[in-house]
């Protein structure tokens, strides 16, 4: 298990924890981008180059900006008066811990079954292109339709009643 993996894992988990626990929502958003970057690097570490860059382009490039815009638009940046966490936060925490316990227990138990060391798959963008247009052409088309629909939907949902707001949150 290479050092790089540990470093990246630590980075991502730290980013995620910060995104969840920080008081200031904008800081949470920025921590989130760090988590996304960490994940992208993990993808690259798993030799999924295209996925890594796509992750960066989509999440850091668009979703992070989107989240930040949303925060600013909803005046989330000021720290909320009555505490950051919801009243029954303990229950949530316990449930999350429970889920983690179950998942990790499952992973550890199944260590025998899972395949371990395999060759590094050489993946070129051409292969991905052929796969996308060949075997997965239907999901591609459906995602295309989905994205257009989501774009229009988001615009309509967030549109200001009287005058069209500038196009935030449309990525």
């Amino acid at each position: 298990m290479s050092v790089v993996f540990y470093v990246l894992a630590a980075l991502t988990v730290a980013g995620a924890l910060a995104a969840v626990l920080l008081k200031n929502t904008v800081h949470c958003a920025l921590a989130l981008t760090v988590a996304f970057a960490g994940l992208a690097l993990l993808f690259l570490n798993l030799d999924a180059q295209f996925a890594g860059f796509a992750q960066i382009l989509v999440y850091i490039g668009a979703v992070a900006i989107l989240v930040v815009f949303a925060i600013l638009l909803t005046k989330g940046s000021e720290t909320p008066r009555d505490g950051v966490f919801s009243r029954t936060w303990l229950v949530g925490l316990v449930i999350a811990a429970g889920v983690f316990a179950v998942l990790s227990w499952a992973v550890i138990n199944s260590v025998r079954v899972l395949p371990h060391e395999t060759a590094v798959p050489q993946v070129t963008v051409l292969q991905i292109g052929n796969a996308l247009v060949g075997r997965y052409v239907l999901p591609l088309e459906i995602v295309a339709v989905l994205l257009t629909a989501a774009m229009i939907g988001a615009v309509i949902v967030a549109m200001h009643e009287k005058v069209g707001h500038e196009k935030e949150g449309q990525k």
């Binding site: 800081h27 180059q49 860059f53 490039g61 668009a62 900006i65 930040v68 935030e168």
Partner: protein
């Protein structure tokens, strides 16, 4: 001899690396080329600051800096010293961490872009299969840096400037992507080196650069527009519009951080025009078949400087666009044209050799431009300003 000249840097690199022990060699090789880029482009930055101020001066019928050094060429050194020595004031209410991080993230993101650009034959830092995608991935984080800068300085003007900058950059990034996608479709690969190779053949001495095809030309025009907007330059430099928003998102920065922002901006300009040359102007390939003997990197850098000159030229001549004009122009004119350009490229690909292909594509593009453009003009979409007062 010419190949030796052409590959001078590459051989220099190999020579240096070979002297190191085997295990470190790959690392050393990469480090060296990184060092090369990190030194070369800031030097170029310094140079262009002078060119810009001299150029603007000439355009405005004045001299421009000529006090320090011959014809004012040592001006950047003076600016550098000034920015280093200036006191770095951080507003009290500013969010220290984010305020400090913003310029760093910006510069790092922009530098990452250079890793993929093929400066010359075999002179690319990382030969990546999805090079273009890597470039855009890195480019995407600049918006985040701009936002961090704007927000962290807790200043109404900077926040407003940041918001405008981000909105503008997002809109034009879409167009940037789409126009470059046309090139990818024609070249059939995301890696920039393959794109340059696709353009390096000649017929009757004229190069196969993509700019000389109807969709390529339209693509380049749109790419240029998007590039200027992406780097907040010339007609689209609303975010730092001195007259309204003081200095936009980097108002609260001073001293070295401000210099970093300035560096970041220029580097972005270099990388985006570098990408432009690789995609449309044939990267390091010579303009005419009989000029191939000149080393490839010279062509790359000459085209680079040419586009920088165009940027400066634009800055000197065109008036600043308003925010809503800018947005409408992007979404209602350039984007549709990009999509159409994509279609035309597709048609171009399947129509086979011969003059009908040229005629049909160019007619479609011109007609679309005229129709869409005129309708926009007539309706005055780009025209009058619409106000919305804060509630």
């Amino acid at each position: 001899m010419i190949e030796k000249l052409d590959q001078i840097f590459v051989s220099l690199l190999h020579w240096l690396v070979s002297s190191l022990p085997a295990t470190l060699q790959p690392l050393a090789g990469v480090l060296l080329s990184v060092v090369a880029i990190v030194c070369l482009f800031p030097a170029l930055f310094a140079l262009t600051t002078v060119f810009e101020r001299k150029g603007l001066g000439r355009i405005q019928n004045r001299l421009g800096p000529n006090r320090i050094g011959p014809f004012g060429f040592f001006q950047p050194i003076a600016d550098g010293i000034k920015s280093l020595t200036k006191e770095d004031i951080v507003p009290l209410s500013a969010d220290a961490v984010v305020h400090f991080l913003a310029p760093v993230v910006l510069v790092v993101a922009v530098f990452m872009g250079f890793a993929v650009l093929p400066m010359g034959r075999h002179m690319v830092l990382v030969e990546m299969d999805a090079g273009l995608l890597f470039y855009f991935a890195m480019g995407a984080s600049t918006e985040l840096a701009v936002f961090m800068a704007g927000w962290s300085s807790r200043n109404k003007y900077s926040l407003l400037g940041a918001m405008r900058a981000v909105a503008q950059m997002i809109s034009y990034e879409v167009i940037l992507l789409l126009s470059s996608v046309t090139v990818v479709m024609m070249a059939g690969s995301l890696s920039l080196t393959k794109i340059v190779e696709a353009q390096s053949s000649y017929t009757w001495g004229f190069p196969h650069w993509y700019i000389f095809t109807p969709w390529g030309c339209a693509g380049f025009v749109m790419y240029a527009i998007a590039a200027t907007a992406e780097t907040n330059r010339s007609p689209f430099d609303l975010p730092e519009g001195e007259s309204e928003l003081v200095a936009g998102y980097h108002t609260e920065y001073s001293g070295f951080k401000f210099a970093l922002f300035f560096l970041g901006e220029y580097l972005a300009m270099f990388s985006i025009s570098g990408l432009g040359t690789t995609l449309f102007l044939g990267g390091w390939s010579a303009p005419f078949s009989f000029l191939t003997w000149i080393p490839s990197w010279t062509w790359f850098f000459s085209k680079l400087m040419l586009s920088i000159f165009v940027f400066i030229w634009l800055r000197g001549t065109l008036p600043r666009l308003r925010q809503d004009q800018l947005m409408n122009f992007a979404w209602k004119f350039v984007l549709p044209m990009c999509l159409l350009n994509l279609l035309v490229a597709g048609a171009w690909r399947f129509m086979g050799e011969g003059w009908p292909r040229w005629f049909v594509c160019s007619v479609i593009l011109v007609a679309a431009y005229a129709g869409l453009g005129l309708s926009e003009m007539r309706k005055g979409k780009i025209g009058p300003r619409s106000y919305r007062y804060a509630e």
